[in-house]
């Protein structure tokens, strides 16, 4: 069953501060992902992989075309949806693991991860227990759980981000370079999480540059082709 689909999705940026230069990035992208399937975006740097991911999440505004997400059993077009509906889709249906962690400065790692569950209605106690287990699974030792992640290394922050992304159990997950700053052992932990999520019926779209991880999780690749910038 298809759960995420784009139809004729195009996106360009207009830079008003630079003589209104227009930079086309995506042109007529048609992509469909089924439940339980992992699709990895491929194509050289600058072909719009991250722009596509961000557009799918509603972080960038789609210019033309549709972004259809199966939400509560119905199709929602995220390219046209009211902001409040987009927030609801993000809370319940569409998860996103970005490359960078962006959080309130003072909040502990454990609370940051648990929040992904409490937002979805889990009790605080249960959320904390599950957050602790998820962090341990991603090899973040317990003494770090009480600390805010601001001082963590890049790889540690990325694992906090992954824990937060995977714990919610969203039916659709977008992964932007989930293993970029991880060592081999932690990459294996991520591969394990992806496989479990797929088995549970989660649809996953990823940008994965490291070949061993990509080969371990991808059911197929989706090729993005560069479009010429307008002169």
């Amino acid at each position: 069953m298809i759960v995420l689909q784009t139809e004729g999705l195009s996106k360009s940026f207009t830079l008003h501060l630079q003589n209104s230069a227009r930079i086309p990035v995506l042109h007529d992208v048609d992509l469909a992902i089924a439940a339980g399937e992992c699709v990895v975006l491929s194509g050289p740097s600058g072909t719009g992989k991250s722009t596509l991911m961000r557009s799918l999440y509603g972080n960038y505004r789609a210019e033309t075309g549709r972004i259809l997400v199966r939400h509560r059993g119905n199709w929602v077009d995220l390219a046209r949806a009211d902001p409040r509906l987009v927030l609801e889709v993000r809370r319940e249906t569409l998860g996103y693991v970005s490359q960078f962690l962006r959080v309130v400065p003072r909040v502990s790692t454990l609370e940051i991860v648990a929040e992904a569950l409490t937002l979805r209605g889990t009790s605080h106690d249960e959320a904390i227990d599950r957050a602790r287990a998820m962090l341990l699974r991603l090899n973040l030792p317990e003494p770090l759980h009480a600390l805010p992640p601001a001082t963590f290394s890049g790889g540690e922050q990325q694992r906090v981000n992954l824990a937060r992304g995977f714990i919610g159990g969203h039916p659709i997950l977008l992964l932007d370079e989930p293993t970029a700053s991880l060592d081999a052992g932690n990459r294996d932990a991520v591969v394990g999480l992806v496989r479990e999520a797929k088995a549970a019926g989660t649809a996953i779209l990823g940008i994965v540059h490291d070949a061993p991880t990509r080969d371990a999780i991808a059911d197929r690749l989706f090729q993005l082709t560069p479009i010429r910038a307008a002169a």
């Binding site: 501060l17 509603g58 960038y60 902001p83 409040r84 987009v86 309130v104």
Partner: protein
Amino acid sequence: MSNPLLEAHDLRLSFGSIQALDGVSAMLWPGEVLAIVGESGSGKTTLLNVLSGRVRPDAGQVLYRDPDNALHDVHAMPAPQLRALHRSDWGFVHQNPRDALRMGVSAGGNVGERLMAQGARHYGSIRDSAIDWLRQVEIGAERIDDLPRTFSGGMLQRLQIARTLATHPRLVFMDEPTGGLDVSVQARLLDLIRSLVGRLGIAVVLVTHDIAVARLLAGRILVMRHGRVVETGLTDQVLDDPQHPYTQLLVSSVLQA
């Protein structure tokens, strides 16, 4: 989805030749945080004052939906009714806590006063409630009888928030609530506002010039310039993919720490 809690239609207000509000419309739904951003003089504080009934517009309408689903025209309401609304369903958090607190009354008294204004009469339960609210804003119960003037700036702001939230308002207006505080104090306050508002399901209209604050707290954002709304939408989308030239300038002008 549910009905809006607050609706503003085509608000206009001029101060002499200055058009402070030039056809502003906005909606607020229960439980959401809406940020109003823009530079000084953009009209954002004027908009907050008109939305909360504190300043009357030249034209336009502000409608508030009460818990029984009845709509009230905020600027057509008799003054006592509007004051009652500000004491019960609504709250207002000022940038300067001294504008809201009574500096000659104890911390507990400041919280209790708002409860009493709403009809609470039992001294013991008012005091218990005050202690509970001080604890929620991370002020120790042993400070309950201290005067606010012995508090730091960050504590005063937390006390103002406790006083405001004690009556369980459905809608809180906030004017630069973290302005003028040290960054460490600001981080703590942001965390506090974020968790309280989320847990209690309060709707908030937040005026700030700091787009990082808007990003952390608000689901939706409204960008103002010269008394007009130039762009509005999902907060992270407006900040990460701004469409209007002014929003692009605003976002690109932020210093990276």
